[in-house]
């Protein structure tokens, strides 16, 4: 584990060296560090953000307690983080098991703008793409880029499809898409280059809700294929 500065008011705890070898274990380790630092509530820390193999710590240097041994806020906070993580590894480690969230997805052609391209690239029928995509098990690696956007691992390797050469200027909210080896869901209308193969009626992000995002890092995700009628009835 390494701790390195992210400018003068944030730092990054690099929890694992390699993510891809064992994404499941890597994510669990990162989330353990995230929860431990959350519980430590170190004065001067403003917020935390986990992503893949790192946990970012945003802080106010003026509110970090300094000592003679650690004259700079970065050094002091690094020492506090290391000590918080050592105490954790001595004590209990696991925390709550991840939640499982079911996301209904309609794969009707009206929503599946790029399903034909994905099927052609994978060399299988559109029905087969939908069957494999909707029966796979996914996990949220992190939420970010835009508010509420979940980066999911677990896409069956045969469905990996390169991003579109020219990104769409507008992808509708709720679009379920494949970008390279990843799959994700656009919470709000936005530009994007991923291949759209379906749409969920759920609002993944709503600023009037607390918390505003349905999904958080670590969640297990199952997709449930729904009809156009059910899509309309579930629409939020």
């Amino acid at each position: 584990m390494e701790i390195e500065p992210l400018g003068d008011s944030a730092l990054i705890v690099r929890v694992v060296d390699e993510f891809e070898t064992d994404p499941e274990a890597s994510l669990n380790t990162v989330l353990r560090v995230f929860r431990c630092l959350e519980a430590a509530a170190i004065p001067g820390v403003i917020e935390l953000a986990p992503a893949y193999r790192t946990v970012a710590v945003f802080y106010d240097p003026a509110r970090i307690a300094r000592t003679e041994l650690t004259p700079s806020p970065f050094e002091s906070l690094t020492a506090e983080i290391e000590s918080a993580l050592q105490n954790q590894s001595a004590g209990r480690g696991e925390g709550a098991p991840p939640r499982t969230v079911e996301i209904p997805v309609c794969y009707d052609l009206e929503f599946a703008l790029d399903l034909a391209q994905v099927a052609a690239y994978a060399g299988m029928s559109e029905l087969e793409v939908v069957r494999r995509h909707s029966s796979a098990r996914y996990r949220v690696n992190c939420v970010g880029f835009t508010p509420g956007f979940p980066y999911l691992t677990g896409l069956p390797a045969e469905l990996a499809t390169p991003r579109r050469a020219t990104p769409r200027t507008e992808i509708p909210a709720g679009s379920v898409a494949i970008g390279g080896a990843q799959t994700g869901i656009y919470p709000t209308k936005s530009p994007g280059g991923w291949n759209v193969i379906g749409r969920t009626p759920l609002r993944l992000f709503d600023h009037q809700r607390e918390p505003p995002a349905i999904l958080r890092a670590g969640d297990r995700i199952t997709l449930r294929q729904i009809s156009r009628e059910e899509f309309d009835s579930l629409r939020q």
């Binding site: 500065p5 992210l6 003068d8 990054i12 917020e47 790192t54 970012a56 709000t188 992000f205």
Partner: protein
């Protein structure tokens, strides 16, 4: 208690010091691109640091006041008038009922932060009154201001002391304070734009030529720049390796380098995570200069140690605390 937006100008939005606590849901900090300028302006009118004010881009803003208020602003080289009276940056000024405040186009720099006593009364959304222009929430209906908008103000005021012998406010003459905030805080547009940087996590992934170019060459701000980031045009910053990086946190001030080799300086509305290598970060005390950049501006970078960057920030925070105490003493005298 309302302010009417007679002319909304080029791009004006309600901002405070930004939104914290939702980064893990992908919500960026946002807020005034120069949070320090917003804070100083708020202090000048007797507001809390985090009161909501206005961020005016390129000026051309006209506001009409229904009630007497104290106003102050900090930022680029703008001319601001209350009626016919000049209101220089970093000074407090009295606006009387019916007065018009005009922020003209800037001679240099691009943005100004205007504080109004009481603060703009818009609902807290996810703990902040800042407008998230990408997510279309917060601020005034989640959008930039338009001509004719009515901005409500909080009634609670802590006016600077300017009462007459009988205790009444002396409102006969236009009033602009003689005292002011330190000029480097109030007027932040500079002809020589040297931004100090600390090394980023990916510094060693760049060629020695790239590392040298970053601190010797000049970079020009390109037109596709906004509150998310300033795109820069300069010598290509080439990497040693070309492997993909896993996405991780970025922050305002981060200098990230996409495959084109042309760096992007991230600003307050930047995304929460990114996968491009981070060659360096502009230090927090120099973000006010970054917040004034406009297409065509040229900038240079100079490297400092992290300990120095943090020391400069701690000194500024001490100075700001003293400034606030000084203002309070002045008001109660």
């Amino acid at each position: 208690m309302n302010v009417t937006v007679a002319s909304a100008g080029f791009l004006t939005s309600v901002q405070d010091l930004g939104r914290t606590g939702f980064r893990q849901s992908g919500v960026s900090s946002g807020g005034a691109l120069d949070a320090h300028a917003m804070r100083v302006a708020n202090a000048l009118v007797g507001n809390d640091d985090n009161a909501a004010g206005l961020e005016a881009t390129l000026g051309r803003l006209r506001l009409r006041f229904e009630d007497e208020c104290i106003v102050a602003w900090c930022g680029g080289a703008f001319t601001v008038r209350i009626g016919d009276e000049d209101l220089p940056p970093g000074h407090a000024g009295l606006v009387r009922a019916g007065d018009e405040l005009v922020v003209a186009a800037p001679n240099e720099g691009s943005r100004a932060w205007l504080a109004i006593s009481g603060g703009v009364e818009v609902p807290l959304v996810l703990g902040s009154r800042a407008t998230d222009l990408r997510g279309n929430f917060g601020g005034y209906e989640g959008r930039t201001l338009r001509d004719g908008d009515m901005l409500p103000l909080f009634k609670e005021r802590r006016f600077p002391s300017r009462r007459g012998k009988d205790g009444d406010l002396e409102i006969a003459a236009p009033w602009v304070s003689e005292w002011s905030a330190p000029t480097p805080w109030a007027a932040t547009a500079h002809r020589d734009r040297f931004l100090r940087i600390v090394r980023g996590a990916s510094w060693d992934r760049f060629t020695p030529d790239a590392q040298t170019s970053l601190v010797t060459a000049s970079f020009t701000v390109t037109p596709d720049s906004d509150r998310m980031g300033a795109r820069l045009d300069g010598p290509n910053l080439d990497r040693i390796d070309s492997g993909d990086l896993l996405s991780e946190a970025v922050a305002p001030g981060t200098l990230q380098v996409p495959p084109s080799g042309q760096p992007i300086l991230l600003l307050g509305d930047c995304q929460t995570i990114g996968g491009y290598p981070k060659i360096a970060h502009v230090i927090t005390v120099d973000l006010p200069i970054a917040a004034q950049l406009w297409p065509g501006d040229r900038i240079r970078f100079r490297e400092v140690a992290l300990a120095e960057a943090q020391q400069l920030l701690l000194e500024r925070e001490d100075d700001f605390a003293r400034f606030r105490i000084g203002l309070d003493l002045h008001r109660s005298s």
